[in-house]
Amino acid sequence: MTKRTSQSIRLVGKGMPRVDADGKVCGTTRYINDIDYKGILHGAVVRSPVPRGILKAIVPDAAFDWTGITLATAKDIPGINVVHMHDRTMPLLAEIGGEIRYRGEPVGVVAAKTPELAAEAARRIRLEIDELPPLLTLEEAVAIFKSAPGQLDTMKEQDIVKGDIAKGFAEADEILEAEYRAGHQEQLYLENQGLVVFPQKDGSILSEGSIQCPYFPVHELNDPLKLPPEKIRVRQTPIGGAFGGKEDYPTMLTGYAALPALKSGKPVKITYERNEDILFTPKRHPVWVRYKTGFKKDGTLTAIECDYILDGGAYLTISDVVMFRGILHCAVAYRCDNVVIRGKVARTNSMPCGAFRGFGAPQAIWGIESHMDAIAARLGKAPHEYRLQVHARPGDRTPTGQLLTEENGSTACLKLALRRSDFAKKLRQVSRGRLRKGQKKLYGVGMSFFAHGSAFTGDGEAKFKAKGRVELAALENGKPGVNIRVSSTEMGQGVHTIFTQIAADALSLDPAFIRYPMADTGLVPNSGPTVASRTTMVVGNVVHRASLDLKNQIEAFASLRFFQGAPAELRASQLVAKGRKPLPFAKVAKAMLAEVGSASGFFQFVLPDSIQWDQQTFKGDSYPGYSWSANVAEVEIDPLTCEISVPRVTAVIDIGRVINPVTASGQVEGGLTQALGYAVMEKIGTGRNGLYDAARLQTYIIPTALDIPEYDVKFVEYPYSFAPPGGKGLGELPMDGLAPAIANAVEAATGRRLRQIPITPEAIFEALHAGKKGTP
């Protein structure tokens, strides 16, 4: 406990050590697979061996001993066989007579005493399927779009229109058009998916596990399980990484485990091994994006036209919102009066894609930030000078018409990143395809500039009304303290720590009094999912306000009970009243708990009325606030082998008020490293059999400690004043812009623009030498 002074507590802005670090470094934190559940069954999913076809029959092997094994199929679904995600099209399990739409689509779930027996039983089930020809990849879908746009099978479409695009092109001196592509990316959280479903006596279920958004299963499985929300309780165990990968999918896993659990009356646990986790859980959407831009000789952008197509996989799940976020980031960072963006989610016969840090924005930014360099090159301008000229800043309007306020540090990010990286000077040293004197490697430097909208799109937060409580309670050590009750989950990003800081400051209480129990839908109000870079800004504000509310209550109680009505203040863990001897918080809290029972502060988030959004036309204020960033990447390419390395990366970031600089820079370094993998090594293709080709850690390659650059991470603070303490979104931004910065650096190094990631040695080789004999 820190020294008591009469000063108030100030933790926001400081690098307070994480509240959960001790257990993690000592190995005492218990993840789902570390918990010794007694008397449970283990589930295994029975999957379609083909990517498309009509399911005719499910035939368990008669020669196999099925005693003690529970098999659940669509027939065992108590309610309607449909999962309620963003539409109601996806069955929980494929039905006989129904269409199988992707390889590995679940058809049944078996549960047995051991995982090995369950796996064996799953293998003993034969499926009779009349195969149909599949459409497996985005590449095939885009070919259809190009030849016959009307025939593209889309699950969702949305346009953004600003100004008059025809006029914009008419005014242009030049037009530049190009396509950019990116494939799937696997989240690769180190802890695989896993949870246990406990059937309860009253017919309800409890699902406990590595679940990023506990309230999702509560509201998405009501149809198939025939259970109202209050009969689906979800509890989080410590999460070994998620990055979006445990956002939508645990709903499915809860559903799979619930069926044999309800049928057998026993708890059922399903955990995936790495191979199954990579093959059959959602990934980042592959993208094809085409930009057609018009601009004047002086550089003024007169028209931006963009087609943005995501591979949604076989069902929509949450892809509509991923696409929305994508198109909202396609042109948000630049001044242009005439914009058309057409977003589409294409249907393919592949595992539905899902959430992954960035949520459509990295794909959009990959395109536009590559394209901006191409425009600058066409104009003969340096990439940084061109961005300084046309970037969006306070006073400008976004493609949806949102006015950017003074709370946007876009210019500051740009300028500071250029200065810290010494960009202009380094740009003079780039190789452009030929080694300069003294260079052994082709050297390049490149940049990107981008925004990331914080919180739900548009007025989503106004509609959602995130709720949270901060309550006085007896802690596990028997002493009085405070529990933070919100549904934001700790996945490693540090929310338990920063909310402790926010609550401690608001209450003026030593953090030793504060606890943040794991989210449990039976105990916490719905403050919303831990997604969309909304947690610090929205839920942080809820915690702040609920803490102030509780503080008022404590002060009022102390005033009456101890100070004869004299106004009391909770300051630095003491209750002080003028002319009286201060009382320790613990004493007052104990009395309050004994005499009043529990007390809690509550808050429900509101958006300022000024936020206006039309979901039909996609016009208005698309996000309550924006975080900004500029990245600079330096690359070296070995002309001998085309091997690429990234020795240095600079990232300057405006995330508003920085609550904890240590966890914040950790988020940035981690996100940048995922983006590095996306840019230069992470590659996963689809075979003709519909299976991913890199389904193990030996083949799905992510950066190691030897692959990372030296990072220079710096924050500039333009706080979001409406929601104290003023944080904006941080989680996703670091993933957004490094890939194009690297591609731009590769262009500077080699003189070739690569329009597809990852930029592997093979890709560089092809760009430089394909079809050519000999050496460069």
Partner: protein, 160 residues
């Protein structure tokens, strides 16, 4: 199946081992001894989350059959690291430097860092990167982990 009967020292304590010879050391530690600090991230030697120290060398316990460890084998897991001075320094440095996020890779990281500092108490940054290259982390970008190992090394008591 063949069964082995052995006596090892695990985290300084004598342990009687009776298990199928082909049982993975990771399963034996987690299931038979309840030492669940070592994690399984891949089961094929790639991620390092299951790293433990066997007779002074860091190994991945997910691909090590227990039968290959003779009587007298000394095993150190994350649970035993705390009792070692260098181990505690490493753990503290991880906490101070913010090197921990989701934590799933961290037991393996701590063990690999310990193995590294035992062999090389003053490692260069390059040596730290090499020493940790068999431990994947998807959260931190390694930067703060490398800083933490450097910090721990700087606090090690000087050896003659």
């Amino acid at each position: 199946m063949s069964t082995i009967k052995r006596t090892w020292k695990v985290n300084g304590k004598s342990v009687a081992v009776r298990a199928p010879a082909g049982r993975r050391l990771l399963d034996f530690l987690r299931e038979d001894l309840g030492l669940v600090g070592s994690k399984e991230g891949c089961g094929e030697g790639e991620c390092g989350a299951c790293t433990v120290i066997v007779d002074g060398e860091p190994v991945v316990s997910c691909i090590l059959p227990v039968g290959q460890l003779p009587d007298g084998t000394e095993i150190l897991t994350v649970e035993g690291i705390e009792k070692k001075r260098a181990g505690r320094l490493i753990q503290q440095a991880f906490v101070e430097c913010g090197a921990v996020q989701c934590g799933f890779c961290i037991p393996g990281m701590v063990v690999s860092s310990y193995a590294l500092l035992c062999r090389n108490p003053k490692p260069s940054v390059q040596a730290i990167r090499e020493g940790l290259a068999g431990n994947l982390c998807r959260c931190t970008g390694y930067t703060k982990i490398i800083q933490a190992v450097k910090l721990a090394a700087s606090r090690l008591p000087k050896r003659k």
